[in-house]
Amino acid sequence: MKILVGVKRVIDYNVQVKVRSDNTDVDLSNTKMAMNPFCEIAVEEAIRCKEKGIATEVVAVSIGPKGAQEQLRTALALGVDRAIHGQSEEQVDSLDVARVMAGIVEEEQPGLVILGKQAIDSDNNQTGQMLAALTGMGQGTFASELAVEGEQVTVTREVDGGHETLALRLPAVITTDLRLNEPRHARLPDIMKAKKKPIDTRKLEELGIERASYLTLMRVETPAQRQGGVKVDSVSELVNKLKNEAKVIS
């Protein structure tokens, strides 16, 4: 079985995010970029499937600017076999990515597609679901446990009420939650070997995709500074404030 795994280049989670002075976007100049942490979990799970003999090949896919090749190299150093880079210097939104992925799924015929449940830059949480819809595959989102048996994958999902366990027919789309696994560090010899693994770079047009651009980024602002709290003298004053000032109870 082949596994397709998604990798997104995002701002490093350790870095303090700055907004451009004209509020058009987040300022990414001279900012450290890294693999989206949920994608790291996806890559780790795919590699574990290969180590357990469930998968025979793991292919990483990234759709984004030239720099995304760094994150693909990281994935290759971690144990992914080869990579596909859908290059786009322009902003792509979730549906664009899902459509490109659908095209690659058609071409590669994977048994399993593992994606992060969301990326920490835009927090959309929709690419996996869109991909499932476009390809007609079943979806197991927010996975905290995953077991492949024969033609079926059992997914434990983290839902509001607790855990839900689903059995999906393969091929299927899985999106990873935080507790699925703890990603490994890349080994030095593997970083060096990753250089020799292939990255297939293609422009979006070559993949037959035109950007849909359903979304326009209007404005980005720094979150408002948190105001200090006030001490109340009595329960009734607290209730009053919750009712009339905060308007959280009625």
Binding site: N14, S29, N30, K32, E70, R73, T74, A77, H185, A186, R187, L188, P189, D190, I191, M192, A194, K195
Partner: protein, 603 residues
Amino acid sequence: MPSYQAPLRDFRFVMDEVLDYPRHYAQLPQAEEVTPDVVSAILEEGARFTREVLLPLNRTGDEQGCRLEGGEVLTPSGFKEAYAQYVEGGWPSLSGDTAYHGQGLPTSLGMMLSEMVCSSNLAWGMYPGLSQGAADALRHHGSDGQKAQYLTKLNDGTWTGSMCLTEPQCGTDLGLIKTRARPDEAGGYLITGTKIFISAGEHDLAENIVHLVLAKLPDAPEGTKGISLFVVPKYLPDAEGEAGERNAVSCGALEHKMGIHGNATCVMNFDGARGYLVGEPHKGLACMFTMMNVARIGVGIQGLGLMEVSFQNALAYARDRLQMRALSGAQEADKPADPIISHPDVRRMLLTQKALAEGGRMLVLHAAQLADRVECVTSDAEREAAETELGLLTPIVKAFLTEVGFEATNEGVQVFGGHGYIREWGMEQYVRDARITRLYEGTTGIQALDLLGRKVLMSQGEALKPFTKQIHKFCQAHEGDAAMAEFVTPLAKLNAEWGEITMAVGMKAMQDREEVGAASVDYLMYSGYVTLAFFWARAAQAAHQALAGNPDDAAFYRAKLDTARFYYQRLLPRTRAHAEMIRAGGESLMAMQAEDFGHGFAI
């Protein structure tokens, strides 16, 4: 708890824009491996490892320290697991010989990773650090059999190393050692004696420990010409080359130290332990110097690493801590007070840390290129030139960066005010950890004698000239450049003065040898400040050049220029004091009789 982010952007600036590493690496035999993308991937992963694995163990290591129980040394919790991860990641083998399980990457790359390790957890870093020194000695002087047995194990990290030189009666003066080596029937030697201050001499991180031990053979001549080097494993290798029978070497005690508590500093007893000669009889000191030169650069990097992490945390605190209004009026009127980074004296401390750390990084990465060249260059003349320059810069890297490293970590405490003195903030640990770096691998005084006596004066100044010539050429090349005048004019003057001072000390020393010792430490510090001034001028030039192209990150380059100006205006004047003290000579040091020092009190 302190945080740490490896200064990857600064590494990139120094490598790509100041020291032209892409060209340097392209000339090495490993050119195919060390392309810029791989180098950056390795640095990124190293940064991640140090931040995620080593940094969280730094304070717990300091609090817990090492324990000796029934002859076994237990390292602080988490150290063993972190070392296992380090080995699993393949890091010990980074610059090791590919014939012996190494990755064969350039020495310089190992030094960059070493800075990150030192910033995140100096005490832990001592364990792999000592292995590196032992591996280097065996690589240069070991027999093929010794390399196959020990070097492979040191490179893959399953075994670690130690350097056993010091004894109770001798530290600096190794001619006085008493440890004896007696030939046995099997062609080996039985080693007997006591070694002290042995870092990583005993611990629970690895399967076996390879001690490199200085001892005297029965027919040894007196003094340093009678020292031989032996490899003495904790467990003797069995028929398969794995750790077998226990050897008669044991840890007698652990030292209780001011800092680096997580590192085991051991008294090692050799009770007829089986050992094997490394290199030729009585030539041990030369072998040991191979280890020590690597180790001395390594200790300089420790000073650098501690400056960087102390700076990062002092900076975060200074931006966050609100106290007093700026003298010129409120800077942040909506807050109860201004952040202390508004105050000139806090800025002085932060900029001192920043200028010395970033300047130190340029010096270390320049020395690292020389180390690569010494290893790889094939023409004798080029190798000799690299060796001479590295020889000159080694005591400067070691002593200057640890002296200013101690100062900079102290400033880190000072920025925190009283909170800096409280253990929980972690800032005082850096001072205590930094304190040892001025002592081990040869104190500052010893490094200063090495620089002035052994390197500069013994060569009649010839060792210094190629370096001052580089500075001269740089100044000449930028002579008419108005933007660079603020750096080039003072640098050219100091460079000329460096030569004059050297001549003057040399002349005095011909009359009285004590003048060398009297001038040495001031001479070393003077040399350090001028050397860093050279690199800061180069950084300024690179920043000007980048700014001309209107880069996205212009702020980075403007900060470089500001820091260079601070260095020239507020740190470089220290050369005036050192020059004056050198010129004053040794008379006032030597006038008083030893018995006259203590007349103010009665014993």
